[in-house]
Symmetry: D2
Subunit: 381 residues, 4 copies
């Protein structure tokens, strides 16, 4: 059993979600898989820091992140700040030789992400980006279907991540609508999750061609206000992609997708089989095998179960529903196992950097109205 | 090529449906599978008879069925009258040595159906009851799944036939609500279709236990009238059943099933596999095989296609939707092939009699509030 | 904030599940809604008790439940033992004036449950049975649809709870197959959950008529053994029911339902609307309103969200999947709120007694092959 | 009642399908809506012409189309030849002042289609292209939802038409794989159907950006042959589109889409509602209205019924399945009504030309790897 001392930066909703996930991982896997110790929580909002400290069970609090990243009693820096702060906190943490667990996206630009990925490799610490959908047992299963060759040669990926949470034009402007805080709109917020799943399962995208739209060009500066501010980024984006392996992709994201609540959905067509998935029905994967007898052939509705990686931490039999938060539990378990036992993990900073390179190419394509190559990652030294 | 001369009794909606089905069967299968010739149509309503004669392309019309059943130019009597007339027309037709095609139900009582079944056997003519769902390629496929043993030993049948067409209490009373015209309510109208499918696929039911309800006890004698008449029979019925093979069944029917449009649905659970079906999605069968790898196991959505009996008359590839009327086309094709080529067929009068015996036992059970054995058919001589 | 000191009896899987639920409730709702304190855990298996004590964070352990129910430092006795021990532990706990939280079913007989319900009422303590499906936000929503009259007069309830976990005949006999340990088979294990939902939403059942089957009559005494022991109770049961309000029901349960994983499913048909639900897709409720425009009318797939009671503890927006365990979190939260704040709750011992009366009537009906009235509860004094 | 004398050019499968559709239209609508008279059928294959003449009930046959288009006893030329002959037959028919009913696509190039559209307008005859999906009552309903404003401002169209009929690489090369016969691959064969639905419902597309793939680059020249020929056109194509009204589209087509049988599917997202449809479940439309109460809001599964244009020709109540062929029946009925009563119709040659202009722009885009504007139709004089 190894204690892993956590320094949490950001005492808001995401910080709480991370902490709950750590506690559930401890309950489900036991301390021998790495025992989280809640050392210190920092927030510029002192009251938030104090409250989180007490409610979440941290030993102490701080009013600045600098104190946390240099604290010798802390093993891993957990970054749950607004996106725009990820870069500087992660960089300082790495420079201090800490393991780093950073909520997605890694940074707001491919350039910054590259710097972090290289620095992390150089430091030899665990460096983990919180693309939690990658941890979904459904996606582990689908990756296995692809990797094993059961679906044959992959021809096509079609997916979108749609929500309608920002459909109402009277909702006021937020940091999500302003590029210096968010980098992009639906693309970075939602689309990046779908890109992480695509990257995890199918590997690199080589080029992209995007069309983006701002559906609601202005929003009130505050609820009820008649003063309006400009929405700077995509409410809706659609993308053609070509994968390194020759497959074609259509990828979308919308935060104004009327009727869609948490619709991260995709279909992968291979020459021997196909698979479909939707996060709105997160416990079922639809898979088709061309080799089945033709009279009996059809998409199978497979419920997640103990055969699928990660699931058996929760339930002993198939079809008992896991929830969205359980992906985060699996994520922090993988993080703890990486730190305590040196186990491998998928979502390192290089992975985060790749996603940011794709996002960057998509934004450039939408702006230039042309195909744009995704920057090939220089081998991280 | 053999010409089969049809004498149609009943010039209403069902008579037209039969005639259209004959014409489509001719188009799809060609005349060598039996060429229908539209000889004579009879209806007590002279105008209806005349109109049908002209529109449907019959050679002549009559104002009484007696003339048709004795007509030496007629090979098969097609009975599309209201249910209460089935018995006497069919009996006379048989006595005149005609082939008989009778719309379901065969008669209003098991006793009358027995007489017809015995008479038909004695006469050696083709005797066909129009339980069209039996002809559905989906049910042919499901019967094959059961018969081949791919589902193992059958444990359970659960099904219902629900519609909400009579939900509105302001709809006036009709013959369907009066027992001397209809025999029963939702049971005979809808439930008998489900029973025909159950009988076709799983064989005999040995005993039943039913609970029935009249939800709307009175209806206007005419649309808009304030005068009310009593509804005499089941709006809704639920039935426990035990099959001869030991399986248990739950069977239902409702004509007031809010939200259900044409919901003939059932699930069959066997020890090696299960199958589900709904007529609202008539082109897809859901089937599960316990022998599939556990990681990849789930109900398969199988679209009907050329592998399923009957389908290829319509389309050369899977997943092209057949419609409800196409079941009737398959039915009359089977009738024509039986007459012209002596081919076997499932829904003979003995089959219709069996359904009526089950219906009779169900009505007795609902009345006596106890289990009632289904009368075993005496071997038809 | 009130501390609620827990004495857990039973250190197995269910005891762990309860404890995890308490911790999650604390994380989600905070200590002001009742702070669970893990005082003592008891198990006859000393090693299990010790391990649970350490892993689950209890202050101390005991090797017998008697010590726990008399411990003055304990506020609530949490009973997570095998079913056959519920009665004596709960009785002793009540006699010692403790609040009692008992896993379902309350006892193995209606008679014992009656004694507990009466004793609990007399003692004035919180008495809670763990029918966790009642806490599902989906069922809270459906109850509201029924209670508000939006579905009109309820005509029909059709449901089943099917799993196939015991389909394999080589799986050895367990306590679930032996009546003195379990009371019944699929009925008590699975069917009782469906009955709890039915009771919660539609109220009392007045009479029942059941047909039960043992599909696999003998099982190995141990894995791999050729020695066989008799299965004593229902693998599969189907039930007709009549509700006090006149509605009819068909209720089923199977532990050998090939292809079904966690298929607690039901449909409620009312004269103004209908609703369908399946626990395999626990985040969506299908509801139909007859009052919708006829051209646009159909079952709506409603994803659970903040409008549905309980959901917003987990997520701020609709369609983010809750999981099975989350029902248990909601349950212990309701328990803590009942103890700390005197808030009302649905699943008291009288509720548990009612379910056991229905189960008892069903077993009698299956044995006597006739309709059996459900015992009306004498007003608990 | 007006007799409409048909001259059929092409005695193959499609010619038979057209003729069956005419006969069914006559049965369903009666002769007063235009009575088809089967005057002459022509095919270069004399035997095929003779057989069709006899089986389909034509008065006489011919071995060349020139004889048909000049026949004074013919009112409408029905073109059911291979695609490459559409242009010359239609042109000659128009020049002889005939009404023309041409199977889709209109021609193999936008240029030829333009000539036909202009000539048809000049001649003032009925000119009809057989994009049968436009006649689907589901699409009529969806068009009405869009046109009425019930879905608000349309933001997005996402759809694909996928089949897997050509997945097997051992299937030999056909005319479909050779551009001089087919113009394009999956795009023209399948995608054009989806484009016709998009055009019908949402109107003009202004520009496109496409990525196409040949998945199986060579096929046997004959079944079983080891000699291979090149596949010249798209097995799979994906397209970004921008509509004149500002909406964005993603449109796809594949003839190698493993697991998909007849999957013409699309989703339209508007600011007030959304709608989804799949031809594999052709009788149900999913529609969401943002204005529904938030607690009860979800996609509604609406079964086609008498409220939806065209349906009531087949059935008097909702949810009774129509089939694929029924779309063709509705199509020829619209054609007959246009000829006999001068009624308006959607799919004229100008409509067919528009589809061909979009196809042309897509092919150019795929070749040039850039956005391409769809040619704006010059006002047809």
């Amino acid at each position: 059993m190894k204690e892993i001392r956590i320094g949490l930066v950001g005492a808001g909703w995401m910080g709480k979600a991370h902490t709950n996930a750590f506690l559930n991982a401890l309950m489900l896997y036991g301390p021998q898989a790495g025992k989280p110790v809640f050392e210190v929580v920092a927030d510029v909002n002192v009251e938030a820091a104090k409250t989180a400290c007490e409610k979440l069970g941290f030993a102490r609090w701080a009013n600045n992140w600098q104190e946390v990243v240099t604290d010798s009693n802390v093993d891993v820096i957990d970054i749950a700040t607004p996106n725009a702060f990820h870069y500087e906190v992660a960089k300082a943490a790495l420079e201090n030789g800490k393991h780093v667990y950073c909520e997605k996206p890694l940074t707001l630009s491919a350039e910054e992400s590259k710097i972090l990925a290289e620095l992390a490799k150089q430091k030899g610490v665990v460096n983990y980006v919180g693309y939690n959908n990658v941890m979904n047992p459904a996606n582990a299963y689908i990756k296995e279907l692809v990797s094993s060759g059961k679906l044959g040669k992959i021809m096509r990926f079609s997916g979108t991540y749609d929500q309608d949470g920002l459909l109402d034009p009277t909702l006021p402007i937020t940091w999500r609508h302003v590029n210096k805080h968010s980098g992009s709109g639906a693309l970075g917020d939602l689309g990046s999750h779908l890109l992480s799943v695509s990257q995890f399962i199918l590997g690199d995208i080589s080029r992209v061609n995007a069309l983006s739209k701002i559906v609601i060009p202005q929003r009130p500066v505050q609820a009820g206000s008649s003063e309006l501010a400009d929405v700077e980024n995509d409410d809706l984006i659609t993308i053609l992609a070509e994968y390194k392996n020759g497959a074609v992709g259509t990828i979308g994201a919308s935060r104004v997708a009327t009727g869609r609540k948490n619709y991260l959905t995709f279909e992968i067509q291979g020459t021997e089989g196909s698979v479909c998935y939707s996060l709105e029905r997160m416990n079922e994967v639809n898979v088709y095998f061309a080799s089945d007898d033709s009279a009996d052939r059809g998409f199978r509705t497979v419920f997640l179960g103990p055969d699928h990686k990660g699931y058996s931490a929760f339930y002993p039999a198939s079809g008992i529903a896991i929830g969205y938060n359980d992906m985060k539990v699996l994520e922090v378990h993988e993080l703890l196992a990486a730190i305590s036992e040196g186990k491998p993990y998928a979502c390192d900073f290089e992975f985060g950097w790749k996603i940011d390179e794709i996002v960057s190419a998509i934004l450039k394509s939408a702006s230039e109205q042309s195909w744009v190559d995704v920057q090939t990652l220089v081998e991280v030294k």
